[in-house]
């Protein structure tokens, strides 16, 4: 990443005030520390600022593929008015989830590449956010016998791996509802979607594929 744009000393007070309010209001038992990230902590992406959580509710934070951790991170970045291109500059973590997840994604990428080479057919990953898709693309960038691209939009955007010469498949039609997280764990996503166009889920219904985790 290029030079530092955010520092703990410049944004920590606002993050701290915001998180304390949210934790008090939501009854979350969590502590956190905010620090400048040391370069080299992670060779895929080094954020400018790292917020690490500890406490009794860390499990809740990391449940459903760290759904709550990522939600808090997103809302905090919006609160700070960070433009979306800066969103990798602030990272929330607990129990080294982020690092482990990157390792997991790299392994999945390798397994997917092997499968595509062996079978000659494309492989569709489960939907992921942009940071995770980036890890997959990076992991596969030096393999010239395959190519990867992202398809779909919003929460259902997913990486597809193709044999190098194969044309892209059409986008899967929006059909069945795929629970968020799509990783085989049961989602408890029973909330009604707003009727005002927000969060419209064009969840495509490809058969669940991708390495079981």
């Amino acid at each position: 990443m290029t030079e530092r744009k955010y520092t703990a000393s410049s944004i920590a007070p606002r993050i701290e005030e915001f998180l304390r309010t949210v934790f008090a209001g939501g009854g979350f038992d969590l502590e956190f520390s905010i620090a400048d990230a040391r370069p080299g902590e992670d060779d895929v992406e080094t954020p400018d600022v790292l917020v690490k959580f500890t406490g009794a509710d860390v499990d809740a934070l990391l449940a459903n593929r760290a759904e709550l951790l990522l939600a808090l991170e997103h809302v905090t970045m919006e609160m700070l008015r960070m433009p979306s291109e800066d969103h990798s500059r602030l990272s929330f973590d607990a129990n080294d989830y982020r690092l482990l997840r990157i390792e997991e994604l790299r392994l999945s990428a390798t397994a997917a590449a092997e499968k595509v080479k062996r079978t000659g057919t494309p492989f569709r990953f489960n939907p992921m956010n942009s940071r995770e898709r980036r890890v997959i693309h990076l992991a596969l960038r030096n393999d010239t016998t395959i190519r990867s691209e992202s398809q779909g939009s919003g929460p259902s955007r997913q990486v597809v791996v193709y044999p190098a010469g194969m044309a892209s498949l059409p986008e899967p039609p929006p059909t069945a509802f795929v629970p968020r997280g799509g990783d085989g764990r049961h989602g408890r996503d029973t909330r009604p979607r707003g009727a005002h166009g927000e969060g419209r889920r064009r969840d495509s219904g490809p058969p669940r594929r991708g390495p079981r985790r």
Binding site: T21, G26, G27, F28, A60, A71, H74, S153, G154, T190
Partner: protein, 76 residues
């Protein structure tokens, strides 16, 4: 929980004075109706609804601690 939604929304918008939340108790579910200035609607919804979804996730996790389900409705 009403306070939680109100605090988050106020932190996100340009005009915090126009944020209001109404709590409607149901049998199973408590509905929280969030109202913001029309110009701030995009701030609480976010691109692809991501911010609204994040607020719902936080609300859901907080609700689990209370064994109660909460639904967020953003009023236009």
């Amino acid at each position: 929980m009403k306070q939680l939604v109100e605090d988050i929304a106020k932190a996100l918008v340009d005009i915090p004075e126009e944020v209001s939340v109404r709590e409607v108790q149901g049998e199973q579910v408590t509905v929280l109706e969030l109202k913001v200035a029309p110009s701030d609607l995009g701030k609480v919804i976010g691109k692809q609804g991501r911010t609204a979804r994040s607020i719902r996730t936080i609300l859901g996790a907080a609700g689990m601690k209370l064994n109660r389900r909460f639904t967020l409705e953003i009023l236009e």
